[in-house]
Assembly symmetry: C2
Homo-oligomer: 230 residues x 2
Protein backbone atom coordinates (compact mmCIF):
# COMPACT_ATOMS: atom_id res chain seq x y z
CA UNK A 1 0.00 0.00 0.00
CA UNK A 2 1.94 2.98 -1.20
CA UNK A 3 0.35 6.33 -1.08
CA UNK A 4 -2.93 5.12 0.29
CA UNK A 5 -5.28 6.73 2.74
CA UNK A 6 -4.13 8.03 6.08
CA UNK A 7 -6.42 5.50 7.71
CA UNK A 8 -7.75 8.02 10.18
CA UNK A 9 -11.36 8.89 10.81
CA UNK A 10 -10.36 12.35 12.02
CA UNK A 11 -11.98 15.02 9.84
CA UNK A 12 -8.68 16.83 9.50
CA UNK A 13 -7.14 13.72 8.02
CA UNK A 14 -10.11 13.11 5.74
CA UNK A 15 -9.98 16.65 4.44
CA UNK A 16 -6.22 16.43 3.99
CA UNK A 17 -6.56 13.36 1.84
CA UNK A 18 -8.64 15.35 -0.59
CA UNK A 19 -6.97 18.74 -0.40
CA UNK A 20 -3.31 18.16 0.34
CA UNK A 21 -2.07 17.04 -3.00
CA UNK A 22 0.22 19.10 -5.14
CA UNK A 23 -1.39 22.14 -6.75
CA UNK A 24 -4.82 21.44 -5.37
CA UNK A 25 -5.14 24.33 -2.95
CA UNK A 26 -3.57 26.76 -5.37
CA UNK A 27 -6.06 25.70 -7.98
CA UNK A 28 -8.95 26.11 -5.59
CA UNK A 29 -7.66 29.53 -4.65
CA UNK A 30 -7.76 30.45 -8.31
CA UNK A 31 -11.34 29.24 -8.61
CA UNK A 32 -12.39 31.12 -5.51
CA UNK A 33 -10.84 34.19 -7.08
CA UNK A 34 -13.28 33.71 -9.91
CA UNK A 35 -11.69 31.82 -12.79
CA UNK A 36 -14.01 29.31 -14.39
CA UNK A 37 -12.52 28.40 -17.74
CA UNK A 38 -9.68 26.08 -18.52
CA UNK A 39 -7.64 28.84 -20.08
CA UNK A 40 -8.19 31.21 -17.21
CA UNK A 41 -7.21 28.54 -14.77
CA UNK A 42 -4.05 27.92 -16.74
CA UNK A 43 -3.24 31.58 -16.64
CA UNK A 44 -3.72 31.63 -12.87
CA UNK A 45 -1.67 28.48 -12.33
CA UNK A 46 0.78 28.72 -15.18
CA UNK A 47 3.35 26.25 -13.91
CA UNK A 48 0.83 23.46 -13.75
CA UNK A 49 0.82 21.29 -16.83
CA UNK A 50 -2.49 21.09 -18.70
CA UNK A 51 -2.56 17.35 -18.16
CA UNK A 52 -2.32 17.73 -14.45
CA UNK A 53 -4.81 20.56 -14.41
CA UNK A 54 -7.29 18.41 -16.25
CA UNK A 55 -6.61 15.56 -13.86
CA UNK A 56 -7.08 17.70 -10.78
CA UNK A 57 -10.31 19.13 -12.07
CA UNK A 58 -11.58 15.60 -12.48
CA UNK A 59 -10.44 14.69 -8.99
CA UNK A 60 -12.17 17.71 -7.55
CA UNK A 61 -15.29 16.91 -9.49
CA UNK A 62 -15.23 13.39 -8.07
CA UNK A 63 -14.81 14.88 -4.61
CA UNK A 64 -17.87 17.06 -5.11
CA UNK A 65 -15.92 20.29 -4.99
CA UNK A 66 -16.13 21.32 -8.63
CA UNK A 67 -18.83 20.91 -11.22
CA UNK A 68 -18.12 20.88 -14.91
CA UNK A 69 -20.80 22.35 -17.12
CA UNK A 70 -20.99 23.09 -20.79
CA UNK A 71 -20.50 26.79 -21.34
CA UNK A 72 -23.68 28.66 -22.06
CA UNK A 73 -22.00 30.91 -24.55
CA UNK A 74 -19.49 28.81 -26.41
CA UNK A 75 -19.64 25.44 -28.09
CA UNK A 76 -17.52 22.56 -26.92
CA UNK A 77 -16.19 24.53 -24.00
CA UNK A 78 -16.80 23.87 -20.37
CA UNK A 79 -16.95 25.96 -17.29
CA UNK A 80 -15.67 24.76 -13.98
CA UNK A 81 -17.55 26.09 -11.03
CA UNK A 82 -17.23 25.48 -7.34
CA UNK A 83 -20.08 23.58 -5.77
CA UNK A 84 -21.34 24.58 -2.36
CA UNK A 85 -18.72 22.30 -0.84
CA UNK A 86 -16.15 24.09 -2.93
CA UNK A 87 -17.28 27.51 -1.91
CA UNK A 88 -17.11 26.32 1.66
CA UNK A 89 -13.37 25.99 1.20
CA UNK A 90 -13.01 29.72 1.33
CA UNK A 91 -12.20 29.73 5.05
CA UNK A 92 -9.57 27.09 4.41
CA UNK A 93 -7.93 29.20 1.73
CA UNK A 94 -8.14 32.26 3.93
CA UNK A 95 -6.52 30.47 6.82
CA UNK A 96 -3.68 29.41 4.55
CA UNK A 97 -3.27 32.89 3.17
CA UNK A 98 -3.26 34.56 6.53
CA UNK A 99 -0.75 32.15 7.90
CA UNK A 100 1.42 32.41 4.81
CA UNK A 101 1.35 36.18 4.90
CA UNK A 102 2.29 36.22 8.53
CA UNK A 103 4.92 33.49 8.71
CA UNK A 104 6.50 32.77 5.37
CA UNK A 105 9.80 34.54 4.89
CA UNK A 106 9.37 37.67 2.82
CA UNK A 107 12.53 36.86 0.94
CA UNK A 108 11.25 33.45 -0.03
CA UNK A 109 8.04 34.97 -1.28
CA UNK A 110 9.82 37.60 -3.31
CA UNK A 111 11.85 34.95 -5.07
CA UNK A 112 8.69 34.04 -6.92
CA UNK A 113 8.23 37.18 -8.93
CA UNK A 114 5.97 36.76 -11.93
CA UNK A 115 4.79 39.83 -13.74
CA UNK A 116 1.99 38.14 -15.58
CA UNK A 117 0.57 36.63 -12.41
CA UNK A 118 0.90 39.96 -10.66
CA UNK A 119 -0.84 41.97 -13.37
CA UNK A 120 -3.56 39.34 -13.63
CA UNK A 121 -4.12 39.62 -9.89
CA UNK A 122 -4.13 43.40 -10.01
CA UNK A 123 -6.65 43.39 -12.81
CA UNK A 124 -8.98 41.37 -10.65
CA UNK A 125 -8.82 43.78 -7.77
CA UNK A 126 -9.14 47.12 -9.50
CA UNK A 127 -11.95 49.07 -7.95
CA UNK A 128 -13.59 51.11 -10.71
CA UNK A 129 -15.88 53.09 -8.41
CA UNK A 130 -13.51 56.01 -7.70
CA UNK A 131 -12.54 56.33 -11.37
CA UNK A 132 -13.92 58.97 -13.70
CA UNK A 133 -16.92 57.95 -15.82
CA UNK A 134 -14.93 57.70 -19.03
CA UNK A 135 -12.36 55.14 -20.13
CA UNK A 136 -9.25 55.10 -17.97
CA UNK A 137 -5.96 53.65 -19.13
CA UNK A 138 -3.05 52.96 -16.82
CA UNK A 139 0.22 51.81 -18.23
CA UNK A 140 2.68 49.88 -16.08
CA UNK A 141 6.32 49.94 -17.08
CA UNK A 142 8.93 47.55 -15.76
CA UNK A 143 12.24 48.59 -17.29
CA UNK A 144 14.02 45.76 -15.49
CA UNK A 145 12.16 43.07 -17.40
CA UNK A 146 12.71 41.57 -20.83
CA UNK A 147 11.36 43.82 -23.53
CA UNK A 148 8.25 41.83 -24.27
CA UNK A 149 7.11 41.86 -20.65
CA UNK A 150 7.92 45.44 -19.83
CA UNK A 151 4.63 47.08 -20.69
CA UNK A 152 1.17 46.36 -19.41
CA UNK A 153 -2.03 48.30 -19.85
CA UNK A 154 -4.94 48.22 -17.49
CA UNK A 155 -8.08 49.56 -19.11
CA UNK A 156 -11.25 50.36 -17.25
CA UNK A 157 -14.01 51.06 -19.70
CA UNK A 158 -17.06 53.26 -19.00
CA UNK A 159 -19.07 50.19 -18.03
CA UNK A 160 -16.48 49.54 -15.34
CA UNK A 161 -15.13 46.42 -17.04
CA UNK A 162 -11.45 45.96 -16.42
CA UNK A 163 -9.14 44.68 -19.12
CA UNK A 164 -5.47 43.80 -19.19
CA UNK A 165 -3.22 43.98 -22.23
CA UNK A 166 0.40 43.10 -22.72
CA UNK A 167 0.44 44.79 -26.11
CA UNK A 168 -0.33 48.42 -26.71
CA UNK A 169 -4.08 48.75 -27.21
CA UNK A 170 -3.52 52.15 -28.78
CA UNK A 171 -5.55 54.19 -26.33
CA UNK A 172 -4.36 57.40 -24.78
CA UNK A 173 -2.74 56.67 -21.45
CA UNK A 174 -3.97 58.55 -18.39
CA UNK A 175 -1.38 57.36 -15.92
CA UNK A 176 2.06 55.76 -16.15
CA UNK A 177 3.46 53.70 -13.32
CA UNK A 178 7.13 52.95 -13.65
CA UNK A 179 8.76 50.62 -11.19
CA UNK A 180 10.53 47.29 -10.81
CA UNK A 181 8.74 44.03 -10.42
CA UNK A 182 9.96 43.34 -6.93
CA UNK A 183 8.74 46.68 -5.64
CA UNK A 184 5.36 46.35 -7.30
CA UNK A 185 4.93 42.84 -5.93
CA UNK A 186 5.86 43.98 -2.44
CA UNK A 187 3.30 46.77 -2.71
CA UNK A 188 0.65 44.36 -3.92
CA UNK A 189 1.35 42.07 -0.98
CA UNK A 190 1.06 44.95 1.44
CA UNK A 191 4.71 44.76 2.41
CA UNK A 192 5.35 48.34 1.35
CA UNK A 193 2.75 51.12 1.34
CA UNK A 194 2.62 52.76 -2.09
CA UNK A 195 3.62 56.03 -0.54
CA UNK A 196 6.78 54.52 0.94
CA UNK A 197 8.25 53.18 -2.28
CA UNK A 198 10.07 56.42 -2.87
CA UNK A 199 12.15 56.52 -6.02
CA UNK A 200 11.50 52.88 -6.74
CA UNK A 201 8.04 53.82 -7.96
CA UNK A 202 7.33 56.70 -10.28
CA UNK A 203 3.88 57.92 -11.15
CA UNK A 204 3.30 60.22 -14.07
CA UNK A 205 0.21 61.63 -15.71
CA UNK A 206 -3.19 62.66 -14.44
CA UNK A 207 -2.61 64.08 -10.93
CA UNK A 208 -6.16 63.26 -9.83
CA UNK A 209 -5.65 59.60 -10.70
CA UNK A 210 -2.27 59.63 -9.02
CA UNK A 211 -3.69 61.10 -5.86
CA UNK A 212 -6.45 58.50 -5.57
CA UNK A 213 -4.28 55.53 -6.40
CA UNK A 214 -4.89 53.77 -3.10
CA UNK A 215 -8.60 53.99 -3.73
CA UNK A 216 -8.79 52.33 -7.11
CA UNK A 217 -5.72 50.08 -7.06
CA UNK A 218 -6.75 47.21 -4.84
CA UNK A 219 -4.13 45.12 -3.11
CA UNK A 220 -3.95 41.45 -2.23
CA UNK A 221 -6.64 40.17 0.11
CA UNK A 222 -3.91 39.41 2.57
CA UNK A 223 -2.21 42.79 2.47
CA UNK A 224 -2.05 44.48 5.82
CA UNK A 225 -1.68 41.34 7.89
CA UNK A 226 1.99 41.57 8.55
CA UNK A 227 4.71 43.88 9.58
CA UNK A 228 6.00 45.93 6.71
CA UNK A 229 9.45 45.67 5.25
CA UNK A 230 11.82 48.57 4.82
Amino acid sequence: MTRGSYGQFCPVAMASEILCTRWTLVLIREMIAGSTRFGDLRRGVPRMSPTLLSQRLKDLEAAGIVSRLPSEREQGVHEYRLTEAGRDLKPVIEAFGLWGQKWVETEATLENLDVSLLMWDMRRNINPAPLPPHRTVVQFRYPDLPINRQNWWLIVDPEARVDLCATDPGFDVDLWITTDLRTMTAIWLGLIPVGDAGSRLRIDGDPALARTITKWMGLSTFAGQRKLIG
Copy 2:
Protein backbone atom coordinates in the same frame (compact mmCIF):
# COMPACT_ATOMS: atom_id res chain seq x y z
CA MET B 1 12.49 20.82 -12.34
CA THR B 2 10.26 18.16 -10.91
CA ARG B 3 8.44 18.89 -7.75
CA GLY B 4 9.79 22.34 -7.33
CA SER B 5 8.13 25.40 -5.96
CA TYR B 6 4.82 26.62 -7.26
CA GLY B 7 6.56 29.77 -8.39
CA GLN B 8 3.83 31.98 -6.99
CA PHE B 9 4.23 34.84 -4.57
CA CYS B 10 0.65 34.35 -3.37
CA PRO B 11 0.64 33.60 0.37
CA VAL B 12 -1.72 30.69 -0.19
CA ALA B 13 0.78 29.12 -2.54
CA MET B 14 3.67 29.80 -0.20
CA ALA B 15 1.85 28.23 2.70
CA SER B 16 0.83 25.28 0.57
CA GLU B 17 4.40 24.58 -0.34
CA ILE B 18 5.21 24.08 3.30
CA LEU B 19 2.03 22.45 4.53
CA CYS B 20 0.61 20.42 1.69
CA THR B 21 2.88 17.44 1.70
CA ARG B 22 1.79 14.02 2.71
CA TRP B 23 1.15 13.58 6.45
CA THR B 24 2.17 17.09 7.34
CA LEU B 25 -1.18 18.48 8.41
CA VAL B 26 -2.12 15.30 10.20
CA LEU B 27 1.12 15.50 12.11
CA ILE B 28 0.53 19.11 13.01
CA ARG B 29 -2.97 18.26 14.15
CA GLU B 30 -1.43 15.69 16.47
CA MET B 31 0.97 18.25 17.87
CA ILE B 32 -1.78 20.78 18.38
CA ALA B 33 -3.66 18.09 20.24
CA GLY B 34 -0.72 18.01 22.61
CA SER B 35 1.70 15.24 21.70
CA THR B 36 5.31 16.25 22.07
CA ARG B 37 7.36 13.08 22.10
CA PHE B 38 8.40 10.92 19.21
CA GLY B 39 6.57 7.94 20.60
CA ASP B 40 3.39 9.86 21.26
CA LEU B 41 3.48 11.25 17.76
CA ARG B 42 3.87 7.77 16.38
CA ARG B 43 0.88 6.63 18.35
CA GLY B 44 -1.18 9.50 16.98
CA VAL B 45 -0.02 8.94 13.41
CA PRO B 46 0.53 5.22 13.40
CA ARG B 47 0.59 4.65 9.66
CA MET B 48 3.45 7.04 9.18
CA SER B 49 6.80 5.34 9.08
CA PRO B 50 9.31 6.48 11.70
CA THR B 51 11.69 7.53 8.96
CA LEU B 52 9.16 9.80 7.42
CA LEU B 53 8.06 11.12 10.78
CA SER B 54 11.63 12.02 11.59
CA GLN B 55 12.01 13.63 8.19
CA ARG B 56 8.86 15.69 8.54
CA LEU B 57 9.83 16.88 11.98
CA LYS B 58 13.10 18.11 10.50
CA ASP B 59 11.26 19.82 7.66
CA LEU B 60 8.92 21.51 10.08
CA GLU B 61 11.84 22.57 12.22
CA ALA B 62 13.49 24.09 9.16
CA ALA B 63 10.25 25.88 8.38
CA GLY B 64 10.15 27.35 11.87
CA ILE B 65 7.03 25.49 12.88
CA VAL B 66 8.50 23.01 15.31
CA SER B 67 11.32 23.25 17.77
CA ARG B 68 13.24 20.27 19.00
CA LEU B 69 14.47 20.45 22.55
CA PRO B 70 16.18 17.97 24.82
CA SER B 71 13.67 16.65 27.29
CA GLU B 72 13.98 18.11 30.73
CA ARG B 73 13.16 14.86 32.42
CA GLU B 74 14.79 12.17 30.36
CA GLN B 75 18.24 11.68 28.93
CA GLY B 76 18.82 11.48 25.20
CA VAL B 77 15.18 12.14 24.45
CA HIS B 78 13.77 15.14 22.71
CA GLU B 79 10.54 16.99 22.82
CA TYR B 80 8.97 18.48 19.77
CA ARG B 81 7.02 21.62 20.45
CA LEU B 82 5.18 23.97 18.20
CA THR B 83 6.71 27.40 17.87
CA GLU B 84 4.49 30.45 17.75
CA ALA B 85 4.23 29.98 13.99
CA GLY B 86 3.18 26.40 14.64
CA ARG B 87 0.57 27.35 17.18
CA ASP B 88 -0.73 29.84 14.67
CA LEU B 89 -1.65 26.91 12.47
CA LYS B 90 -4.54 26.10 14.75
CA PRO B 91 -7.02 28.04 12.59
CA VAL B 92 -5.77 26.16 9.55
CA ILE B 93 -6.35 22.82 11.23
CA GLU B 94 -9.74 23.94 12.44
CA ALA B 95 -10.76 25.06 8.99
CA PHE B 96 -9.76 21.66 7.63
CA GLY B 97 -11.62 19.85 10.37
CA LEU B 98 -14.78 21.84 9.99
CA TRP B 99 -14.81 21.37 6.27
CA GLY B 100 -14.05 17.68 6.57
CA GLN B 101 -16.74 17.15 9.12
CA LYS B 102 -19.28 18.92 6.96
CA TRP B 103 -18.41 17.64 3.51
CA VAL B 104 -16.56 14.36 3.61
CA GLU B 105 -18.82 11.37 3.12
CA THR B 106 -19.67 9.76 6.41
CA GLU B 107 -19.23 6.35 4.88
CA ALA B 108 -15.71 7.18 3.74
CA THR B 109 -14.85 8.39 7.20
CA LEU B 110 -16.22 5.30 8.87
CA GLU B 111 -14.08 3.08 6.70
CA ASN B 112 -11.14 4.25 8.74
CA LEU B 113 -12.03 2.70 12.03
CA ASP B 114 -9.12 2.35 14.41
CA VAL B 115 -9.80 1.48 17.98
CA SER B 116 -6.45 2.51 19.29
CA LEU B 117 -6.68 5.93 17.68
CA LEU B 118 -10.21 6.32 18.97
CA MET B 119 -9.39 5.42 22.54
CA TRP B 120 -6.31 7.61 22.47
CA ASP B 121 -8.48 10.49 21.30
CA MET B 122 -11.11 9.80 23.93
CA ARG B 123 -8.51 9.71 26.63
CA ARG B 124 -7.44 13.16 25.65
CA ASN B 125 -10.89 14.60 25.91
CA ILE B 126 -12.13 13.10 29.13
CA ASN B 127 -13.37 15.84 31.40
CA PRO B 128 -12.58 14.82 34.97
CA ALA B 129 -14.47 17.67 36.61
CA PRO B 130 -17.88 15.98 36.89
CA LEU B 131 -16.35 12.75 38.19
CA PRO B 132 -16.36 11.70 41.85
CA PRO B 133 -13.25 12.60 43.85
CA HIS B 134 -11.94 9.04 43.97
CA ARG B 135 -10.46 6.88 41.23
CA THR B 136 -12.90 6.13 38.43
CA VAL B 137 -12.44 3.20 36.05
CA VAL B 138 -14.42 2.82 32.85
CA GLN B 139 -14.04 -0.31 30.80
CA PHE B 140 -14.83 -0.27 27.10
CA ARG B 141 -15.68 -3.58 25.48
CA TYR B 142 -15.75 -4.15 21.74
CA PRO B 143 -16.90 -7.75 21.22
CA ASP B 144 -16.58 -7.35 17.45
CA LEU B 145 -12.83 -6.84 17.57
CA PRO B 146 -9.95 -9.31 17.79
CA ILE B 147 -9.47 -10.53 21.31
CA ASN B 148 -6.42 -8.44 22.11
CA ARG B 149 -8.12 -5.19 21.16
CA GLN B 150 -11.49 -5.83 22.76
CA ASN B 151 -10.88 -4.32 26.14
CA TRP B 152 -9.78 -0.86 27.11
CA TRP B 153 -9.67 0.80 30.46
CA LEU B 154 -9.88 4.50 31.04
CA ILE B 155 -8.71 5.43 34.49
CA VAL B 156 -9.16 8.82 36.06
CA ASP B 157 -7.17 9.03 39.25
CA PRO B 158 -7.96 11.32 42.18
CA GLU B 159 -5.59 13.94 40.84
CA ALA B 160 -7.66 14.02 37.66
CA ARG B 161 -4.97 12.40 35.56
CA VAL B 162 -6.39 10.26 32.81
CA ASP B 163 -4.80 7.00 31.81
CA LEU B 164 -5.55 4.48 29.12
CA CYS B 165 -4.77 0.78 29.29
CA ALA B 166 -5.22 -2.01 26.81
CA THR B 167 -4.48 -4.61 29.46
CA ASP B 168 -6.43 -5.06 32.65
CA PRO B 169 -4.92 -2.77 35.27
CA GLY B 170 -6.66 -4.80 37.95
CA PHE B 171 -8.78 -2.05 39.43
CA ASP B 172 -12.45 -2.39 40.20
CA VAL B 173 -14.48 -1.18 37.27
CA ASP B 174 -17.13 1.46 37.89
CA LEU B 175 -18.72 1.49 34.45
CA TRP B 176 -18.78 -0.86 31.48
CA ILE B 177 -19.48 0.39 28.00
CA THR B 178 -20.17 -2.35 25.50
CA THR B 179 -20.55 -1.46 21.86
CA ASP B 180 -19.09 -1.92 18.42
CA LEU B 181 -16.27 0.17 17.06
CA ARG B 182 -18.29 1.78 14.30
CA THR B 183 -20.96 2.97 16.72
CA MET B 184 -18.45 4.32 19.20
CA THR B 185 -16.58 6.15 16.46
CA ALA B 186 -19.79 7.65 15.11
CA ILE B 187 -20.64 8.85 18.60
CA TRP B 188 -17.20 10.32 19.06
CA LEU B 189 -17.55 12.20 15.78
CA GLY B 190 -20.93 13.55 16.82
CA LEU B 191 -22.74 11.63 14.12
CA ILE B 192 -24.92 9.84 16.66
CA PRO B 193 -25.89 11.26 20.06
CA VAL B 194 -25.02 8.77 22.80
CA GLY B 195 -28.65 8.56 23.74
CA ASP B 196 -29.66 7.53 20.23
CA ALA B 197 -27.39 4.55 19.90
CA GLY B 198 -30.05 2.26 21.30
CA SER B 199 -29.09 -1.36 21.57
CA ARG B 200 -25.80 -0.78 19.80
CA LEU B 201 -24.44 0.72 23.00
CA ARG B 202 -24.88 -0.83 26.41
CA ILE B 203 -23.92 0.86 29.63
CA ASP B 204 -23.65 -1.09 32.88
CA GLY B 205 -22.50 -0.22 36.35
CA ASP B 206 -22.69 2.90 38.45
CA PRO B 207 -25.96 4.63 37.48
CA ALA B 208 -24.67 8.06 38.48
CA LEU B 209 -21.75 7.72 36.12
CA ALA B 210 -24.03 6.43 33.40
CA ARG B 211 -26.39 9.34 33.81
CA THR B 212 -23.65 11.94 33.52
CA ILE B 213 -21.85 10.30 30.63
CA THR B 214 -22.27 13.27 28.31
CA LYS B 215 -20.65 15.45 30.92
CA TRP B 216 -17.40 13.58 31.40
CA MET B 217 -17.02 11.80 28.07
CA GLY B 218 -15.85 14.52 25.72
CA LEU B 219 -16.37 14.17 22.00
CA SER B 220 -14.33 15.24 19.01
CA THR B 221 -13.74 18.96 18.66
CA PHE B 222 -15.68 18.81 15.44
CA ALA B 223 -18.71 16.97 16.80
CA GLY B 224 -21.93 18.82 16.35
CA GLN B 225 -21.04 20.51 13.08
CA ARG B 226 -22.99 18.29 10.76
CA LYS B 227 -26.30 16.63 10.28
CA LEU B 228 -26.59 13.43 12.24
CA ILE B 229 -26.87 10.02 10.71
CA GLY B 230 -29.63 7.52 11.50
